[in-house]
């Protein structure tokens, strides 16, 4: 099938970038919450999965796919805001460690809720992009599927939108201020609680989008996000947890590493790939403790 090893390399690079784009999207969702509140939302993946089921139900009721996904992102936003206000905030003041436990509890709750509502039979969700057998083009001989290109572009657009949100809007400035210093944010009149909740909401919407892009290729089931979420959190940590650009670079890097290891170090079984990816991340963090793009604080006193 492959004429030479160069073609094979290109193919693996393309596959790696495609998988990495999904990790990058989900990592972006994690970073948006982390920047504001310093918390890693373990329920992120399950929130996205739930929203993908919502999108699937909406398409079955006759709505166009793009509208269904958009509405599922709204559901993700509302879910994020609600979870922050009802579960996270009351706990945070009393016991920061409790937030972690609550997020894990939410993970299980949302997962089981999805089972209760939609059952365990796998469903489908159509792709936003052409994903038929012939929908690809050749790049140096390697097959590049249009769907993968679409996901990659969506991810880049999202990165640009987040950049604009953080640097060009008042609410983005408030989000950066809250991430930096909550006490001072209150003193300039920012309603810190709402800014944090909006961060969770934006993150919930991004997670919903990520899940909706992943579901057509991975199949929509309650297990949709389990693996990708692990890789996405690794990507966010690799990128520095508070940097959107870092999340994207981290996500793409992990996708590539994964594709190369599977392709070139094929004596390693599937499970071992995971360990190798994490070993590489550990080495990076030993050299750069704040991640590839994490902010290193400058503070003179």
């Amino acid at each position: 099938m492959f004429a030479n090893s160069f073609e094979l390399f290109i193919q693996r690079t393309v596959d790696g970038l495609a998988a990495g784009s999904i990790y990058a999207l989900l990592a972006l969702a994690l970073v948006v919450v982390f920047r504001g509140s310093g918390q890693l939302n373990f329920a992120q993946g399950e929130m996205g999965m739930f929203c993908a089921f919502v999108a699937s139900t909406l398409t079955l009721s006759g709505l166009p796919l793009w509208l269904s996904i958009l509405l599922s992102m709204v559901v993700g936003f509302v879910m994020g805001v609600g979870i922050e206000r009802v579960v996270i905030r009351p706990l945070e003041h009393k016991n920061p460690g409790g937030v972690l436990v609550a997020a894990i509890g939410l993970f299980l709750l949302i997962n089981q809720l999805a089972v209760a509502v939609w059952g365990v039979d796998p469903r489908g969700l159509a792709s936003l992009f052409p994903d038929g057998e012939d929908d690809f083009f050749r790049l140096f001989g390697a097959a590049v599927r249009w769907e993968r290109v679409g996901i990659f572009l969506v991810m880049l657009v999202l990165l640009a939108l987040l950049w604009a949100l953080f640097t060009k809007t008042k609410i983005g400035l408030a989000m950066r201020a809250v991430a930096n210093n909550q006490d001072s944010s209150r003193l300039v009149g920012i309603r810190v609680g709402w800014i944090l909740a909006i961060g969770w909401g934006v993150s919930g919407a991004i997670g919903a989008l990520g899940a909706a892009l992943l579901a057509p290729q991975a199949g929509l089931s309650q297990a949709l996000m389990l693996g990708p979420f692990v890789f996405a959190s690794a990507a966010a940590i690799l990128g520095g947890l508070d940097s959107p650009l870092g999340a994207v670079v981290g996500g793409l890097a992990i996708g590539l590493i994964q594709a190369y290891i599977v392709g070139y170090v094929n004596f390693l079984g599937g499970g071992m790939v995971l360990s190798v990816v994490f070993a590489i991340i550990l080495v990076v963090l030993l050299v750069r403790p704040s991640g590839l793009f994490g902010s290193q604080r400058v503070e003179r006193v």
């Binding site: 400035l173 408030a174 201020a177 300039v188 009149g189 604080r297 400058v298 003179r300 006193v301």
Partner: protein
């Protein structure tokens, strides 16, 4: 303008303010003097709503003890917290912009104004605030507070950690702001000598109680108070 009566505040079971009364009139600079632990910072935080408090704080007819910090800022009370409270990861420019969070018009106009008042900030507008010197950060903290166009400025120990000559310059700036715009200033300070030079009136706070008050000149002249509370 500001009338504080029976103000109390506690950290957990420890009551720090035992019910204090004081006023700040229109266009006045009032200083609250006291040693470490007297309750000066607590007084500021109780006014700005960043800690639970009791008693009454009337600001131009509004009861501040019932309001949240953001509502208090919107009414025109800005606080420069102790330790300056600049946003260290944000640029000087973003620090000033976020200071105008409660406003939507004429923000650029004000930005230009404070850059011309504090040219050092203009030079460093793209630097992160955390990289500024202590004196520059204090200027930034004051300029940021001014971006909300306050009617009353609360300054919590601006001299902390600054060389005397920088403190003098800073106090001169505060006086200018007060004279130019008629903005009232409530200052808490350990540095009694410098603060009394710019203040109209003063109170002495000791372990959560007001133990003396008068015009700045009276307190400067009162040797008993100077010796007992101000460590001179």
């Amino acid at each position: 303008m500001l009338t504080v009566s029976g103000l109390t505040a506690s950290y957990g079971p420890v009551q720090v303010l035992q019910g204090i009364d004081f006023t700040v009139g229109d266009g006045e600079i009032v200083v609250i003097l006291g040693a470490n632990g007297a309750g000066k910072t607590t007084t500021m935080r109780a006014i700005s709503g960043t800690m639970p408090r009791g008693g009454t704080v009337d600001f131009a007819g509004h009861e501040l003890t019932k309001l949240s910090p953001d509502a208090i800022v919107r009414l025109g009370v800005a606080q420069v917290p102790q330790g300056r409270g600049t946003f260290s990861d944000l640029t000087v420019h973003d620090n000033l912009m976020v200071g105008a969070f409660t406003r939507s018009s004429k923000v650029t106009e004000d930005l230009d104004r404070w850059y011309s008042v504090f040219p050092r900030l203009a030079e460093r507008r793209e630097q992160k605030a955390g990289s500024l010197s202590g004196g520059e950060q204090q200027m930034l903290a004051i300029a940021r507070a001014m971006m909300s166009r306050p009617k009353l400025l609360l300054c919590d120990e601006p001299s902390l950690g600054l060389a005397p000559i920088i403190t003098q310059d800073l106090f001169a700036r505060i006086t200018e702001l007060n004279q130019e715009s008629g903005m009232a200033v409530l200052l808490v300070e350990q540095n009694a000598n410098l603060a009394l030079k710019i203040a109209h009136r003063a109170y002495v706070l000791d372990t959560g109680r007001i133990v003396a008050s008068g015009t700045a000149a009276e307190l400067q002249a009162d040797e008993t108070i100077q010796a007992a509370y101000l460590g001179v």
